[in-house]
Symmetry: C2
Subunit: 267 residues, 2 copies
């Protein structure tokens, strides 16, 4: 069965679209047949990344890998219709006529929606990025200021739990949940320790694996207009060499890919 | 008439709630009668900030200024009812019985909603923060990769234009639109210049004033659990002294306040 990889977090601006795009490119780079699904159709950051990539490829003929298929869905106002649209898009993208993708990378909006909930319920792997910030942590769990302890899960954790239930009931399947610290800085040692500690406690309670994640690096965003990632820089048609910072960034991306267990069938 | 200050950007995680809270505290610090309205009731970051502040004040009796009133609205599913709820909340917060606020700071979600659109239509001042990122710029305007020029306005710019129309038709009033670069870093000179150039061109076209904004500083987020800002640190009950970085942060906040023209009547 194809592997559905969802990038989700109800908190805005945690890096969902950025990570969805970078994972899709990394998987294509590794030779896998990948399709992409944008469930944040109104904002469409992932769609824009892919349109920009196609535009760049048209100009430069650099041999850039492009997803086998891409769909973008925006809310229709009808929750049932939205859920059906998600099912339909996934079926299409993984069908032989639709491109035969074995992995579908799904981007979701930073808000609650029928499209997002349905997407989450299909996940084999759910990747949740967040900033190293107590404000971001708040959608996962409430923390008590006096004791610095976790009080209870918050609304996005509840949404993921419901998705896990939906998945289990649908086909007995499991969602592998990975939480990823994103936009990490070298500074603020105290804040970093605090986040690592709280997330470390939360993982076993909510059922997710914590991975170190990506640092704040302009290379993860400055190539947006060309739809490129640092992995594309050394291609013939692009022709840039990698700096030290790029190499560290590439290692961060590789560590992320390694943590995603795509399953033997896909490999 | 009371001054309605809306913090808006359909793009997620640009710093809306953080800035809404810091502006509210800064205005109360300056002695103004302030109320707060959270139109992102499901996520509730601004509400959580204020609840945490009240909790801290209960514990410590530090004499922290608290908003005269606070309301939180979440989508009801009925757009007309949502719009009426916004009107009602603003009327309540500015009424004598409701606290008599002369400034209402309104936080909005990082997504399109009836609550957010109605809030935008009431704005005297609209503050739009964004990251120094072409991905964030994309909701304001499409940029062509070959020419590095602005092609056309994007969906959030269109939403603001509609809000300006709604405001003009309602009472002939004007929305002062301020765009604020947030989470700025000292590094990445090329990217910073690029963003400054593109936003500089976009300002006159879309009708906003660009201000330099806030740097990425952990002091803007590490006090979330206590509902504090750096402006509170020197109060008797809190008793911390300011570091050099705090002083620079305070100057950034002051520059932001200065740029907001609250109008003679409020002062
Ligand atoms: N590791 C990183 N290094 C540098 N910039 C980053 C990184 N991750 C994300 N960004 C930038 O941070 C901002 C938010 O990222 P992104 O748009 O991918 O988040 P999102 O969760 O998809 O947001 P939304 O909730 O609006 O969909 C963007 O400007 C993006 O370019
Ligand atoms: N100037 C800053 N310095 C450091 N951290 C910041 C700054 N501004 C915002 N942040 C952090 O960035 C993240 C996003 O900020 P915030 O939640 O205020 O954005 P938002 O636009 O309200 O997001 P949403 O779209 O989810 O409502 C939070 O983790 C916040 O603590
Ligand atoms: Mg996104
Ligand atoms: Mg917010």
């Amino acid at each position: 069965a194809p592997h559905i990889l969802v990038v989700g977090n109800e908190k805005g601006g945690t890096g969902k679209s950025t990570i969805a795009f970078h994972i899709a490119v990394a998987l294509m780079d590794a030779g896998l047949p990948v399709a992409t699904l944008d469930l944040d159709g109104r904002q469409g950051s992932l769609t824009r990344y892919i349109e920009n990539r196609c535009g760049f490829e048209e100009l430069r003929n650099a041999g850039l890998p492009i997803p086998l298929g891409h769909r973008s869905l925006a809310p229709s106002g009808d929750a049932m219709a939205d859920a059906r649209a998600v099912d339909h898009a996934l079926a299409e993208l993984t069908s032989a006529e639709g491109g035969g993708a074995r992995v579908v990378v799904v981007d979701t909006p930073g808000s609650d929606s029928a499209l997002s909930r349905r997407g989450h319920a299909w996940a084999d792997t759910l990747i949740t990025p967040l900033n190293d910030s107590l404000v971001d942590l708040d959608v996962l769990a409430l923390v008590d200021v006096q004791s610095d302890r976790i009080v209870r899960p918050s609304h996005y954790a509840a949404m993921v739990w419901e998705a896990k239930q939906a998945r289990a009931q649908a086909d007995g399947g499991e969602i592998q949940w990975i939480v990823l610290r994103n936009r990490l800085s070298n500074l603020n040692a105290h804040n970093k320790r605090e986040m690592a500690r709280l997330l470390g406690q939360l993982g076993p309670r909510l059922g997710f694996t914590l991975i170190a994640g990506l640092s704040e690096r302009v290379i993860f965003r400055e190539l947006f207009l060309a739809g490129l990632t640092l992995l594309d820089l050394r291609r013939a048609g692009v022709g840039q060499s990698l700096t030290m910072s790029h190499i560290t960034a590439r290692n961060e991306l590789r560590a992320l890919l390694k943590a995603i267990n795509l399953g033997r069938r896909v490999r």
